[in-house]
Symmetry: C2
Subunit: 205 residues, 2 copies
Amino acid sequence: MPKRGYHHGNLRQALVEAALELIEKRGPTGFTLSEAAKRAGVTPAAVYRHFDGREDLIAEAARQGFEIFADLMEHAYQSGQPSALASFEATGRAYLAFARKYPGHYVAMFESGISINRTAELAMVANRALGVLEKAATDLSRHIPPDKRPPAAMFSAHIWAMSHGVVELFARGAPGTKSPFPPEDLLETGIGIYLRGLGLVPPDE
Amino acid sequence: MPKRGYHHGNLRQALVEAALELIEKRGPTGFTLSEAAKRAGVTPAAVYRHFDGREDLIAEAARQGFEIFADLMEHAYQSGQPSALASFEATGRAYLAFARKYPGHYVAMFESGISINRTAELAMVANRALGVLEKAATDLSRHIPPDKRPPAAMFSAHIWAMSHGVVELFARGAPGTKSPFPPEDLLETGIGIYLRGLGLVPPDE
DNA sequence: TGTACATCAGTGAACGCGCGTTCACTGATGTAC
DNA sequence: TGTACATCAGTGAACGCGCGTTCACTGATGTAC
């Protein structure tokens, strides 16, 4: 608990965290600046000391999310080296782990309608994060004979799509779409089958 | 153009259509009953002659979406018969085609937070729609040796996840995520590789 | 160590707005005779 | 075909509410001397 009293001491970050909880709970359009302020124990007007307004607060939440996300993905990638396959699989797991551990950030990043190009800083960190997935895919696709190798961008788009789909449909309390399988298993097996289709893992594994 | 004058003539459906346009444009939480009424050329209060309120209107939009979706999926399934593979691939294409042709419906169905179990009728039509995908997956998985056959529910969850992911990330104007590939190609190749991984299409195709 | 003062992070009241919902109403439509 | 009347789909005013944002302000903090 930071300093108490008239001056909050750490209001900026407290607002971001309140926003994240609300975005997680109410969705990106349901989030309100006033409620975030209230949660941080402060008047709505105080928000304007730290942010330009509602949008700016969401953008900062997304930025912090991409920062964490990029770190996790990079760490996962490193942990699998020097094996391209191990690196790739680790990044896939990291994707889902991030979405589950930081659902508010995830929503702010991918569902809030905030443009990734809103600021140069946001664009940079977003590209760092998504770049790791593409790098892992590129590494791995070197093991595929060139004539049957799909473009690395397509490869990583497939994996991104499946990961995002699993998150949205099965890893959240989506309405009536309770998965009969744990999302982790679903993604792991899905990626496994996909990689087998590329000839990257032995067919009898 | 329906009858003009004091009585609208077809207000119920006009409201659903206005709602769909707004849901598509502003997202599920951004949709307002008042604006839908205005678009239909009517006072907000008039909505209550036809619906129980905001939620009920969204639910009806979702219901109509599932109806169309189920029809499309069933038609696609039939068009591929008697080949299990052709049926399966056709349903995959139908999924994306639906999402692109009826984006408002798609959002109302899968992103509005409306529970699929809101009414018995909604649950029924939703299950009819999603059941087609599962049926296509079950048919197809009969061609896999039982010992390496994943459960059909998992199979169809993978495909659903990838389809949904492609829709959300690449088939809509998502922020900064312009795909370098047409979504249709992305889904087609993704599913192709996945099926190859299951040994369902020849590895050199 | 003490004082004067600038800086700064908050308050609280006010704004105009659009929301979902209710209510008594009224004008148009359709039916019985 | 004409009239009386019931039904019904709309109006328009009103409600209480929470929103994002602005503004002049004030109390706390930190710095210069």
